[in-house]
Symmetry: C2
Subunit: 162 residues, 2 copies
């Protein structure tokens, strides 16, 4: 079955039993989670969150890019969130390559990339840098808060960063 | 309870019963989902996906930005995905403001923003533009595929775009 057929069929089961309840656009917890696209992560379940509780922003690496800041600013100013939880994870694929190795791989397929793919060596350091970037954003002024965590994909455990 | 305490407590329950099974970094379905940060969306449940099936990339609006393309290129070249499913949704907050109204709101708090927040008027059109941007990316050459959908936050239903 193709992925398209798979998600259409998967959605039929979901929509049959769907109860919108009191779902509203502004997140109940007034929080936004920033995490990685990794397929071993289910941020809602892993953090004990319900539908409606939080915004969830995900990209390769949970890197706080300009696009993440754009999303957080909209989340804060249009939908009332007041803090960001940045969640990196162990064994992140972003530590398994460098710009050089990925560019070489693309090059050997005849593709020319000068893009910075934002890989990193240290997951904790990347989370701390992301928290710092959020706290330094002039468009998310205090008391807007940000907290860092590392999720362990082998144990399911979450460690807050001091 | 603060959001930090809430997710730490939520994770204790999750990690106690966590079974990593055969979870691996390369997604089983070889697909990446691109969707919105909206709190009314639980992309795994709504699409009938399991942990390990797909990458999930989320930002404000499911807009295919340069950062989404960065993530998809890593997803494809480093982790073997071969298609993207772009999922917009009804009642998206991105249709409820414009750059002008948001900049005015920031301005009245003394903040100066010239940023393009990438709002849009038509959800379908935004999804189609995103699919087009992916298909046109030189770093995601054919047969890399992309498909568009709109999720209805009131009914839980998913509509594929022709």
């Amino acid at each position: 079955m193709s992925s398209v057929d798979r998600v259409i069929r998967g959605n039929e089961a979901w929509s049959r039993s769907f109860d919108r309840g009191d779902l509203r656009a502004p997140p109940r917890l007034r929080a936004a989670v920033v995490t990685c696209m990794d397929c071993r992560l289910d941020p809602l379940r892993a953090l004990g969150l319900d539908l409606g509780d939080a915004h969830v922003i995900r990209n390769a690496g949970a890197v706080v890019t300009d696009d993440v800041l754009r999303s957080l600013v909209i989340s804060h100013w249009e939908l009332g969130t007041v803090e960001a939880l940045v969640v990196g994870h162990t064994a992140c694929g972003m530590t398994a390559f460098t710009n050089e190795t990925l560019r070489r791989k693309l090059g050997s397929s005849g593709l020319d990339a000068t893009l910075d793919f934002l890989p990193f060596r240290d997951v904790e350091e990347n989370v701390r840098a992301g928290v710092g970037r959020i706290l330094a954003s002039p468009l998310l002024p205090a008391p807007y808060a940000a907290h860092g965590f590392v999720y362990d994909v082998a144990t399911g455990g979450l460690t807050p960063l001091a």
